[in-house]
Symmetry: C2
Subunit: 358 residues, 2 copies
C-alpha cells in the first residue's frame, strides 16, 4: 500500500484553457444593448428605483432580449457584498459544531445561499483575529458565529453592527441576535435528577470553555440542595484523556455519580471506571451532555441532555436571512438584529444512571 | 425552558445603513490615478504581462500611492472565477467527511482560500444535479468532491475538464485528479487477520454505497482463503440500526467474527451482541473501519482500520492549488490534473478482536 509522494513533478505539456462561463451575456452586453453605462447597470441591479424610468425600461427589454441571467459575482460586486453566509467556528470536527453546521447547510441551501467556513484558532489571540479579518475582507452577506468556545468578546467587537450576524451559544451580547441553548438550565436539571436518585453528591468533569454555563448549572443545583460541591475536574476535548480521570474517580468508593461536560467525555469516563473495576450504573451513575449520535448505542446507553444543534443552525439562518433582507432592501432594522431566542435541551434518561445502591 | 417562537414580528423603526467597505480605494480610483481604463486595470490584476510596461509602472505607482488592497470580489470578477474552493459532499455529519473537511479547511486557510460547502443530496438524481449546478454557477476557483457515497459518475460529468477538481474516494475517474484511500486493500488485510486468529469465516455488515470497495476486499480475502462468504448484511449510516443486526448475529452460535463497514456500525453491533448475551471479544470478535475518535474509548476498545481522512483533505487542497495556479497563470496543465494518489490505511488491533475460542 503505497503512500502518496510528498512532491509532484508537474509536466508542462498541453494548453490549459481559461475558465469560461460559455456564451452567457455579460452585464456589459446588456448595457450595450440598452444603451446605458455599466455603472448604470450596476445601479439597476442594486436598486432599480435609483435608475430613471426610461433607462429601467430599456434595461428590462435588453435583459429579456439577451436572456440575461445576472452573474452572482457581478451582483455581489454591485452590492459590495458576496452572496455567501460565513460560518465562524473553532474546531469543526467536534460533535456540536458538526451538527450545528449541518443545520446551517441545510437551511442555507434551501434559501439559495452558499456557506463559507471560517475556522477560528481556538487559542484566540492574534491568529484568531487574523482569521476573522480575512473572512470579513470577503464581504460576506452575513456571519453565523458558533461560540461553543466562548470566543465572542474579541470576535464580536470586530464585526460591524451593520453586518448581519447571529451568534449561537456563548455569553449574552446585547444588541446582537443570539440563540441560547439553555445549558445552565439543563445542567441544573440533570444534577438535580442525580440527587433525586439518592446520590449524596455529583462530581463534574468539565470540557474546555472560559465560561462554562454547564458547570454553573451543576454548582447551583448542588448549592440549592445544600450539598457541598466537589472540585470540578477539567479535561480536554479528547475523550481519551477522560479515561484516566474515570479510573481515578473509580478508585474512590465514595464516588457514585459523575456528570460530564459532554458525551464523549462521559464515554471516556465509563471506560476508565470499567478499568477500575466499577460497574455503570450499578456502582457509579454517569451522565453526559449533547446526545451524541453514539450515546444510544453505548454500552450501557448513556443518560444525557439532548441539545437541538441542527435546529439551532437552521434557526440562525432564518434570523440571518431577515437581517440580510433588511440590508438588501435598505430598510429599517427589525427585531431579528437583537433577538435572544432560546432552544432548550431535554433530559434523556437511558441506562447509565440508576438509584444509588444502599 | 422556553422554546423559541416560530415567527418573529419585525419592527421597522430605525435606519439600517448599507454595508460599506469604508473609504478603501476601489479599482476605479486606482485606474483614474494611473490614467488607465478599468478594463486595463482588470487585465493588470489578472495578468500583468498583458499590460504595456508603461501602464504597468503607472498602475504600480498608483497602487502604492493609494495604498490599494485589491477587493477579492473585484479580482474574482476580473478572472471570472471566485476565490473560493467548493467542497461537494453528501451528509457532512458523518465521521469520515467531518475529518476530511477539517483537513481541507486547515490547508485552505493556510494558503488563503476560503472554502464553501455544497451539500449533495445523497439520493442523487435531479436534486443533486441541481445542487451541483448552483455551486458551479458561482464559478469556484476549484472543486473538491468527497465521494464516499460513490456519486461521482453523474457529478463528475457535469464539471468541465477545465475546472480545477480533486476527487477523494470513489471509483477511479481517468483524466481527473483523485485521492484513493485503498479501502479494498485494508478490508482484505483485516479479513485475512481475522482468519489468522482462527475464525472459520468472517461476517460482513456493509454501509450504504453503490460500489463498496470494503465489501470487495472482504470477499476476495475469503475467496483467497477458500472460505465461503456468508451473505453480507446491509445497514444504514445510523449506528442504532446495527443493534438489531448484532442481536440477530449474536443468536447464531456459529458467528465468531464480524467485520463492519465502519466503526459506528461496529459499535452498534457490539451493543446488540451484549444484549444477546455474547461477550466481545471472548465469544465474538468485532472489527470496524475508519478509526473513529471514540474507537479508542469504546468498551472494549475497537480493532479497526485507521483512515487518514484529514491528511487526504490537506493533500487534495495542495493538488487543487497546483491546478488553480495553472488556470491563473494560463499555463500548460500538469500532472496535478490527472494524478492518482494513494493514502493507505493502517490496521489498528485493540481489544475487540481475539483468537477464536476452541
Amino acid at each position: 500500500m503505497a503512500r502518496y509522494p510528498g512532491t509532484h513533478t508537474t509536466g508542462r505539456g498541453g494548453f490549459m484553457p481559461r475558465t469560461k462561463r460559455g456564451n452567457a451575456p455579460s452585464i456589459r452586453d446588456v448595457a450595450a444593448v440598452a444603451n446605458v453605462s455599466v455603472p448604470t447597470m450596476s445601479r439597476y441591479l442594486k436598486d432599480p428605483e435609483r435608475v430613471s424610468e426610461k433607462k429601467r425600461e430599456a434595461i428590462a427589454a435588453a435583459i429579456e432580449k439577451l436572456n440575461y441571467r445576472p452573474n452572482p459575482i457581478a451582483r455581489a460586486l454591485a452590492l459590495d457584498m458576496s452572496e455567501s453566509i460565513t460560518v465562524m467556528s473553532a474546531d469543526t470536527r467536534l460533535y456540536g459544531r458538526t451538527q450545528t453546521i449541518f443545520g446551517i447547510e441545510r437551511k442555507a441551501q434551501e434559501i439559495g445561499y452558499p456557506i463559507t467556513i471560517c475556522v477560528l484558532d481556538p487559542r484566540g489571540g492574534e491568529r484568531m483575529l487574523s482569521n476573522v479579518r480575512s473572512c470579513l475582507d470577503r464581504s460576506p452577506a452575513g456571519v453565523i458565529l458558533i461560540d461553543f468556545d466562548r470566543l465572542t468578546d474579541s470576535v464580536v467587537s470586530r464585526i460591524p453592527a451593520s453586518t448581519p450576524m447571529v451568534i449561537i451559544g456563548g455569553p449574552r451580547h446585547e444588541r446582537r441576535a443570539q440563540i441560547h441553548l439553555c445549558e445552565y438550565d439543563s445542567a441544573y436539571a440533570m444534577t438535580r435528577r442525580l440527587l433525586e436518585l439518592g446520590h449524596e453528591t455529583v462530581h463534574y468533569v468539565s470540557v474546555p470553555a472560559d465560561v462554562d454555563a454547564r458547570a454553573d448549572g451543576w454548582r447551583m443545583a448542588l448549592s440549592d440542595a445544600k450539598v457541598p460541591a466537589p472540585a470540578p475536574i477539567a479535561t480536554t476535548w479528547d475523550a481519551e484523556d477522560a479515561i484516566e480521570i474515570g479510573r481515578r474517580l473509580g478508585e474512590d468508593p465514595s464516588v457514585t455519580a459523575i456528570f460530564a461536560g459532554n458525551d464523549e467525555v462521559a464515554m471516556g469516563l465509563m471506560r476508565g471506571l470499567t478499568l477500575a473495576g466499577r460497574r455503570v450504573p450499578d456502582d457509579v451513575s454517569v451522565a453526559g451532555f449533547d446526545d451524541h449520535t453514539l450515546s444510544k448505542v453505548w454500552n450501557p446507553p448513556l443518560t444525557t441532555v439532548r441539545q437541538r444543534f441542527s435546529e439551532a443552525g437552521e434557526h440562525a439562518v432564518a434570523l440571518l436571512k431577515e437581517q440580510i433582507d433588511d440590508v438588501v432592501n435598505d430598510c429599517s432594522r427589525g427585531e431579528a438584529w437583537t433577538v435572544f431566542d432560546r432552544i432548550a435541551g431535554d433530559l434523556v434518561e437511558r441506562e447509565s444512571t440508576a438509584p444509588r445502591r444502599s
